[in-house]
């Protein structure tokens, strides 16, 4: 039952706390690109890969009381903070869903900014292209973000680390 929800609960169990919906979106996408079998469908949006299905499923998990969502007013925008609840833990204990180990990858991603994860996930989105084509594409689709060659280099290293 609710296998896709249970897979997400494994993520919350491993991450303890995630700050920001954008960060959450990009983390799940990066895990997916690392071969973790998340079924949420992603499309390319203004700020990189984004999954409406994931947004809805997170909303459901909140409504079920399995994760907590704290909305913080940042004057120009809202920011959301997510963590697993006791009931969520119980749900996960009953679930028989298995995932490959994700803890290390999550730790690595948590240390990074959402801006950086946006870059990484966008690069992974174009992973059917060559390295040079990906870098060119980033300059086209992320023109406003002004990613530097240093950012790109760091992102390549990060991808190398996290995918192996």
């Amino acid at each position: 039952m609710l296998a896709n929800h249970a897979k997400l609960m494994k993520f919350f169990s491993a991450s303890e706390e995630v700050v920001g919906r954008k960060k959450l979106q990009k983390m799940i996408y990066i895990l997916k690109k690392c071969g973790v079998p998340y079924d949420e469908k992603y499309e390319f949006h203004f700020y990189g890969p984004y999954s409406e299905e994931l947004t809805l499923r997170i909303e459901e998990l909140c409504n079920l009381g399995f994760i907590s969502e704290v909305k913080e007013d940042k004057s120009n925008y809202y920011q959301y903070r997510y963590g697993m609840t006791q009931q969520g833990e119980e749900f996960l204990n009953h679930s028989q869903v298995e995932l490959p180990p994700i803890e290390d990858k999550i730790e690595k991603m948590k240390e990074k900014s959402s801006r950086f994860l946006e870059l990484v996930s966008t690069m992974l989105y174009f992973d059917d292209l060559t390295k040079a084509e990906i870098e060119e594409k980033i300059q086209v689709v992320k023109k406003k973000s002004n990613y530097t060659s240093k950012d790109l280099e760091e992102a390549w290293q990060f991808i190398e680390q996290i995918q192996h």
Binding site: M1, K22, E53, L56, E60, G65, N76, Q79, E90
Partner: protein, 431 residues
């Protein structure tokens, strides 16, 4: 004259129940509509299994695609000559609007889930592959097919072009809300599109709405909200969708077990093997799928046969409200009881969550998570819609999700009256 500039001698029109007429003057658009890949969309329903709930919902992705094209055509008439708008992108926008759903397969929601497919990938493959559509687009310019694919994939450099086809208030949504309302016959889904088109403005890299048009947008958001719950998430449609998915799962499972089908699933083999090429994909439309379901209704495997009879004859699963948190123990007990009485719970006991359907209502999100609807204020500032509109703010914050438990009540009722399992199953389901 370059092919991209060629016009038909006389404007062609398609009579359309939503927009009255769809107008075509560009030779390129006319030629694209005539391709086999585009004509195939006539054989794919816009709303999948919804016709089993709302019998009028037989409209196809062909109708919708023409509708999206027509809305973009009208938006561009309004954009001509405005700052921030480059009219050289006109044909690109029209082609992308027309072709945006080209890769949808039959009952694509279930097919995508079961066979791990993505219709966007197939849209791209049709546009870039060895197809009639690609031939036409290449005649415009060798780079043109890639540009059209990029716009549809939302990775085109000019974000303004992308946002016409895909944003929170785009031509796609404006067409499907009105069209789905019309064909289902519901009284929701209507809003003043003419007004919205008049107040849309290109500003830098996005389409925004003049603040004076806020109430028309409120109506559009409300219409999305109502259609979402009244039509797209209708529990009976979800029951049909559950059965459809289970048929596909069962057929795949049987194939993997080397089951000998009485009627060979020729059209499905590459789907079962996870290696679908474009040719196979384009051959499978809803008429073909429904034909297989009729044939499989006579299979000796009792599960696929039963599920196909149910789908074909609309003998759907019944449902009860279900809370996976509060009823976790009951779920586990039901699962065992179903197994004990010979109803495989993998096929006959299904929890369905509303988010498993691909429609959304307005969610503003947080900064830089996704692009919201922006209002253009009289002082030229941009403000996010839900910050200005109490109505939108109220439904944006309103959380509502829905889980239902689907099962074949007729099977349960057919169990012997003295069966303890039957009594307990009914007790749980009715509690």
């Amino acid at each position: 004259m370059a092919y991209k500039d060629e016009k038909l001698d006389e404007e062609k029109v398609f009579k359309d129940p939503v927009h009255r007429y769809v107008h075509v003057r560009d030779q390129v658009i006319w030629d694209l509509i005539g391709t086999p890949e585009f004509q195939r969309l006539r054989r794919v329903r816009q709303l999948g299994t919804t016709y089993l709930t709302f019998h009028g919902a037989e409209h196809s992705r062909f109708n919708h695609s023409l509708g999206v094209y027509e809305i973009v055509r009208r938006i561009l008439l309004n954009f001509e000559g405005r700052p921030d708008w480059n009219n050289d992108e006109r044909l690109l926008c029209l082609c992308a609007a027309l072709l945006h759903d080209l890769g949808h397969g039959p009952f694509s929601h279930s097919f995508e889930k079961v066979f791990k497919l993505d219709h966007e990938d197939f849209t791209k493959k049709i546009i870039l592959g060895d197809t009639h559509v690609n031939e036409i687009l290449k005649r415009v310019d060798l780079e043109f097919p890639q540009k059209v694919a990029d716009v549809i994939n939302k990775t085109y450099e000019d974000k303004l072009v992308v946002s016409l086809i895909s944003s929170q208030i785009d031509a796609d949504r404006m067409d499907y809300l009105q069209r789905d309302a019309y064909f289902t016959g519901v009284s929701y889904g209507h809003f003043d599109m003419e007004r919205i088109l008049r107040v849309m403005r290109p500003v830098e890299d996005q389409v925004v709405i003049k603040e004076s048009g806020m109430h028309a947008v409120e109506d559009y958001i409300m219409s999305r909200y109502q259609m979402y719950w009244q039509v797209y998430f209708h529990p009976v449609t979800r029951s049909a969708e559950v059965i459809l998915s289970k048929i596909l799962h069962r057929a795949k499972h049987l194939y993997e077990q080397n089951y000998k089908f009485d009627f060979e699933p020729t059209h499905f083999i590459s789907f079962f093997e996870g290696d679908v090429n474009l040719e196979d994909y384009l051959r499978l439309d809803e008429s073909v799928v429904l034909f297989y379901f009729q044939m499989w209704a006579d299979e000796k495997d009792s599960i696929i046969s039963d599920l196909c009879v149910r789908f074909t004859n609309r003998q759907l699963f019944k449902y009860v409200e279900f809370n996976p948190n509060l009823q976790m123990k009951e779920w586990m007990e039901l699962y065992s009881l179903f197994r004990d009485v010979g109803m495989d719970p993998e096929y006959y006991l299904v929890v369905d969550s509303s988010s498993d359907l691909p429609y959304d209502f307005y969610r503003p999100g947080e900064e830089e998570e996704r692009l919201p609807i922006h209002l253009l204020m009289p002082n030229q500032d941009l403000r996010e819609l839900s910050r200005e509109s109490d109505i939108v703010e109220a439904i944006s914050g309103k959380k509502r999700t829905d889980h239902k438990l689907y099962f074949p009540l007729d099977f349960v009722e057919a169990l012997p009256d003295d069966s303890e399992a039957k009594a307990r199953i009914l007790e749980i389901l009715n509690s």
